[in-house]
């Protein structure tokens, strides 16, 4: 029978490949599996206990051998025992799970940042070197990788089961996750949040490579312009440099060294200038007016795509001096006033 042969192949493949557990391909995977085995242990012990109680009592006190029941009110001691012991186990699980959660969602400072944009129904990856990938992700092993992710439309979820990480990709805000691959190979990438018609086609592959292979790969697939360079291009073409010149006398603050600093706002609060902050200032400037400036920046909502915003963020991240901005200012657009409505910029 044809079908059974096919099935047999899959059976063999399944058993040899990933029988009951996915491969462990990241540094976090053993930690996750440890908790998983602990919880399986708890489940098995709990289940066996309940089955033994039910089975044992059913056998010992079946009507044939125990025709008259003895009435028992209850037992405070026993009830206290089976309140406190499960509670203890659950609290241990809670602490263990919380530690794991904080580990997965707190990236190390030295991690390499890759941007992910989800849209119906594909995953776009943007490497800092300017490499673009669709439904694929190439990463070096042995280095922490942080993914900064955002969705262009609906909720998606970036799931790497062999790496034991997953995070919702949400429209309108960045979410992050990190991992460190340990074994070279090709692994699954799934969208796990239902996102419409082709939800099940929003899958891809993540390729973990030796660092030297990754270096080769980046050189081969470069687009000629790094993400930050692309950001600089957008910065100029959207006319940002008309105001954000870095001159102390200007009506807009200098952006050099902004990233990672704390900004004093006009309403008295202090905000950390991270990726989310930069993105939100560009889209909703009047909600983030720095102290000492008038709320005159126009919104760029609907004019820059998420990819463009990522490029701008990456650009501002490494902007340490206003030298180049002032250069472009004097050479090209010096006579131009505040931008009129610039068109949609596709990176």
């Amino acid at each position: 029978m044809g079908i059974s042969e096919v099935l047999w192949q899959y059976l063999v493949k399944w058993l040899t490949n990933s029988a009951l557990f996915p491969r462990e391909a990241s540094t976090i995977a053993p930690y996750m599996d440890a908790l998983y085995f602990f919880l399986i242990g708890v489940t098995v012990v709990g289940l066996v206990l309940v089955l033994l109680l039910i089975g044992g009592f059913s056998f010992r006190y079946r009507k044939a051998v125990h025709p008259v029941a003895e009435q028992i009110e209850g037992s405070t001691l026993l009830e206290a025992i089976w309140t406190i012991i499960p509670l203890g186990i659950f609290l241990v699980t809670f602490v263990w799970g919380a530690l794991l959660y904080f580990r997965i969602y707190t990236p190390p400072v030295n991690s390499m940042n890759i941007y992910i944009v989800g849209k119906q129904w594909m995953w776009k990856a943007e490497h800092p070197g300017g490499q673009h990938e669709i439904n694929e992700l190439h990463v070096p092993i042995g280095q922490p990788i942080q993914l900064t992710m955002i969705s262009q439309d609906v909720f998606h979820s970036y799931s790497l089961p062999e790496f034991r990480v997953k995070r919702e990709v949400i429209p309108g805000r960045y979410t992050t996750v990190w991992f460190q691959a340990t074994t070279p190979g090709t692994y699954h990438l799934f969208c796990t949040q239902y996102c419409g018609t082709d939800h099940s086609k929003m899958v891809g592959e993540i390729t973990a490579m030796l660092p030297e292979d990754y270096k080769k790969w980046t050189e081969l697939s470069t687009s000629g312009m790094s993400l930050a360079q692309n950001g600089e291009r957008i910065f100029a073409s959207m006319g940002c440099n008309a105001c954000h010149t870095g001159n102390a006398s200007n009506r807009a603050p200098s952006l050099a060294g902004l990233y990672g600093s704390k900004v004093q706002m006009a309403n008295g609060s202090i905000q950390l200038a991270d990726a989310a902050y930069i993105r939100d200032v560009i889209l909703n400037p009047s909600q983030h007016v720095p102290a000492g400036y008038a709320p005159i920046m126009p919104t760029y909502k609907g004019q820059i795509s998420e990819d463009g915003l990522i490029a701008l963020v990456e650009y501002l991240k490494q902007l340490n001096t206003n030298y180049r901005i002032q250069q472009t200012q004097t050479t090209s657009v010096s006579d131009q006033a505040a931008p009129t409505t610039p068109g949609m910029v596709k990176p």
Binding site: S286, Q287, P295, P298, T299
Partner: protein
Amino acid sequence: MDNSIVTTEPLMPRETAVHEEHEHVFIPQHRHHFETEEQQREAGSFGMWLFLLTEIMFFGGLFFAYLLYRNWYYDAFVPASNFLSVTLGGTNTAILITSGFFMALAVWAAEVRKKQFLVIALILTTLFGLAFISIKYVEWHDEWVHRHVPGASFDISEFVSPKAHGITDQKPISPDMAEHCQIFFFLYFAMTGMHALHMIIGIGLLVWLILRAQRGDFSAGYVAPIENFGLYWHFVDIVWLFLFPLLYLINRHPLK
């Protein structure tokens, strides 16, 4: 285990029980499955309270959304709120309280079995309720004229450049913030609309109660429908007493 509240009344067939203990309040509206009048009345009002609890949770979702966005977009909520007319809103508040007052009188009139008074109080309750809806309609119409109704025709120009529209007491806000005024107006219409829907249902019930009162249904000690409707009507009043300050008055106090 607490078993101290054991009632050991002798077992008594229902008919005897009713005749011996409750003959004086035996009324045609007594439902068969209740043991006593008292039980029926208590069950009714308890049910009404539970229903109002449900209503609180229903409006609670809207209040929750309101609080979230007021917190996020305070700068948009202030000018949007300032476009609402405190005079009309305040008048409506007074009207609704008056209506509630007549409702309370109606409950009293039913309890003391004053039929004519009951009918008049109910009619006044209805009239003030209708007045509220009419004024609310005027307000909604204003907002329609000013293109403040959320949707495709929503227009932010009055918030961005109030001077151009002859509004002098408002500070202009930036267009991206003004977009969020739409959220305010959406919540405003959702909340006042939901409230008005409750009013309209209430007025429908009032008409029915007036007809029954006129027929003399509540003149012989059977007042449960009036009482329970009173609870509902007061609840609708109270919802408005939360809506009015939240929607109309959020920037009327001195901030600085």
